[in-house]
């Protein structure tokens, strides 16, 4: 059983799933009392599109050899991944409320030996793309047509190890690899461009010989189009530079660095859930973000 590219993707369904994922994120973080909402919410639309339209996977058989792999390199955003996994059926949705509790399968940062569907242990930034390369190489050696998706933060790109890996992916022509950068222009200490700028990003990746697609990371349509383009790209790895907004979907969290690692209390949770709705098009702060 797998959802995906054989059938036509149902945009409305994906958007509902993105909503459900956002709700799960907020509820599990509230229950946990700590964790990272901002970078989880900014990737919610991507994860909905990935898990409910693109990925070849079987939630009842997480170790299926022919599955596509999802590597969350920015491990702190694991609530979005846990939510996508639960909504897909890897484990029951109520289990999300055990996040960060003693003996829970849902560790504060993801651990591949504990949670079904988690492919790598992460939490120390800058390692996921290198691991994705190794798996992409291994899959090619085995003649497999499975693909590897790697999710990175924009602040994470300040890690030198990421650029070692970026060179490896293109040098080895890993066209079974898709990297997605959550270009929300925020990290813990403030704006990425203020802390240590990474622009112009697309040009950098192009210069490193990647196939680069720039999209609005909250547009399901653009995300699906980018997936298709990545699938059809041969001889090069694909980098999707997704302009996003940290905290997306919760008015009082949007584009606020404070909400990187602070969770909503009971009142804030209620307010956030009330305000959640299917958001169309870029928000105002996102347009400013894109110009930055």
């Amino acid at each position: 059983m797998f959802q995906g590219k054989n059938g036509k993707p149902d945009i409305k369904y994906i958007k509902e799933k993105a909503m459900a994922i956002r709700k799960d994120i907020l509820e599990m973080l509230n229950a946990a009392g700590s964790g990272h909402p901002g970078g989880s919410l900014s990737a919610a639309d991507f994860f909905a599109a990935l898990y409910f339209a693109e990925l070849r996977h079987d939630p009842k058989n997480p170790k299926w050899p022919d599955r596509d792999r999802v590597f969350l390199s920015k491990g702190h955003a694991c609530p979005v991944l846990y939510a996508a996994l639960a909504e897909s059926g890897y484990f029951p949705v109520p289990e999300l409320l055990t996040l960060r509790k003693l003996h829970s399968r849902l560790q504060g940062h993801p651990h591949m030996l504990k949670t079904p569907g988690i492919e790598i242990s992460a939490g120390s930034l800058g390692q996921g793309l290198g691991i994705a390369n190794g798996t992409a190489i291994g899959l090619k050696m085995d003649g497999s047509d499975s693909r590897v998706f790697c999710v990175m933060g924009d602040g994470e790109l300040q890690e030198g190890s990421v650029w070692e890996a970026i060179m490896t992916s293109s040098h080895r022509k890993l066209d079974n690899l898709v990297a997605w950068v959550d270009y929300n222009n925020l990290q813990i200490d403030g704006k990425v461009e203020d802390v240590k700028g990474i622009a112009p990003l697309a040009e950098k990746f192009k210069a490193f010989n990647w196939h680069v697609i720039e999209i609005d990371g909250h547009s399901i349509e653009e995300t699906l189009k980018a997936f298709k383009e990545a699938r059809e790209t041969k001889g090069k790895p694909t980098m999707i530079v997704a302009k996003t907004e940290k905290g997306r979907g919760v008015c009082f969290m949007e584009n606020k660095p404070e909400w990187h690692g602070v969770v909503p209390n009971k009142e804030q949770l209620e307010e956030a859930l009330k305000g959640l709705c299917v958001i169309e098009g870029p928000s105002k702060s996102q347009i400013e973000n894109a110009d930055a």
Binding site: R69, H111, M112, L113, E119, I120, S121, A122, G123, S124, G126, Q127, G128, L129, G130, I131, A132, N133, G134, T135, A136, I137, G138, L139, M141, D142, G160, S161, E164, A165, M167, T168
Partner: protein
């Protein structure tokens, strides 16, 4: 007098073993970081170019890539100098390899001051200390070329992370083909009853054997143990040494802080408290020089081991 033994490279023994094992096990892949001519993984590269990956001068990328390859069932062996591995990629080893308990093998070349003229930046003296604190990893330094070949088989059989430490120089062949090699089980090279000299790597173990011979002339019976595994440390062998000889000297080409000697001391302290003297690098950086000069400069040769043995014996509790 101990016969002057044959001198051989352990790194060549490992490289040849990888070629041998690579033929039987097609999952073996080898990664290097622009030092294949020195680690001698170029032998594997020549034989199996499709299973060799030169990752360039990018040690963190070597480890991350190896983790990814291990996830697809490959058995990566990653080689570079011990100063860079774990020095440059400790966090990758900790999170991506050991936390995930992946079947990745690390080869830390150029361990010890015997690296020689290249000096401090190239002499790995802290690698065991850095790795020993990480759960799930096994740490080996096979004594000589013969033992290295056996260790390679054992490492392949063991599922999980292992680091193989080795020196740059040719070292005396002191083990025999018929000797058993088992991860975590030390080998007694010489029986004795007054003190136990626990060494690692045949360069320094040979000094231990020379020291034992001199001590014998003074009426002191020294046991010599080849402690090829720093982790897990062989507690049974240490307990036996403590009970039967009552004094211990550890000898290694590594800082005395956090190395094999520390592992021995940690075990003794909670099992059978015993006087221990530590031969090794005493909390300072390496130097340029010939290996022989450096063994004198850093107090690693037989005469220092003899002194340490006498001191350890003098510290035994009076019955």
């Amino acid at each position: 007098m101990i016969a002057v033994p044959e001198m051989k490279l352990t790194r060549e023994a490992l490289a040849d073993s990888l070629v041998r094992l690579g033929k039987i096990n097609k999952n073996i892949v080898v990664l290097d970081a622009d030092l294949a001519k020195s680690t001698l993984t170029n032998k594997f590269a020549k034989e199996y170019p499709d299973r060799f990956f030169d990752m360039g001068i990018a040690e963190q990328d070597v480890i991350a890539t190896a983790a990814g390859l291990a996830l697809t069932g490959k058995i990566p062996f990653c080689a570079t100098y011990g100063v860079f591995l774990p020095g440059r990629c400790w966090d990758q080893i900790r999170v991506s390899i050991c936390y995930a308990n992946l079947n990745v093998k690390l080869i830390a070349a150029h361990g010890g001051v015997s690296v020689g003229a290249d000096g401090a930046t190239h002499q790995a003296l802290e690698d065991i200390a850095m790795l020993r604190a990480i759960p799930n990893i096994v740490l080996l330094m096979p004594a000589d070329a013969i033992e290295m070949a056996k260790a390679a088989d054992a490492v392949l059989k063991h599922v999980g992370p292992v680091c193989i430490r080795m020196g740059r120089e040719k070292v005396p062949v002191i083990t025999k083909p018929e000797d058993k090699f088992e991860i975590g089980i030390a080998n007694v090279l010489l029986e004795g009853s007054d003190v136990t000299l626990i060494g690692q790597g045949s360069l320094i173990l040979y000094e231990c054997l020379l020291a034992a011979e001199e001590l014998k002339k003074k009426g002191i019976s020294a046991r010599v143990v080849n402690m090829h595994t720093s982790k897990p440390i062989d507690g049974k062998c240490i307990d036996k040494a403590a009970l039967e000889t009552g004094a211990i000297v550890t000898a290694e080409e590594h800082q005395v802080i956090g190395g094999m000697g520390s592992a021995v001391a940690e075990h003794c302290a909670k099992s059978i408290p015993t006087p221990i003297e530590f031969i090794g690098v005493q909390d300072r950086f390496g130097e340029s020089g010939t290996p022989k000069e450096l063994f004198e400069e850093f107090g690693l040769s037989a005469k220092f081991i003899i002194r340490a043995a006498e001191k350890a014996i003098s510290r035994k509790r009076k019955k």
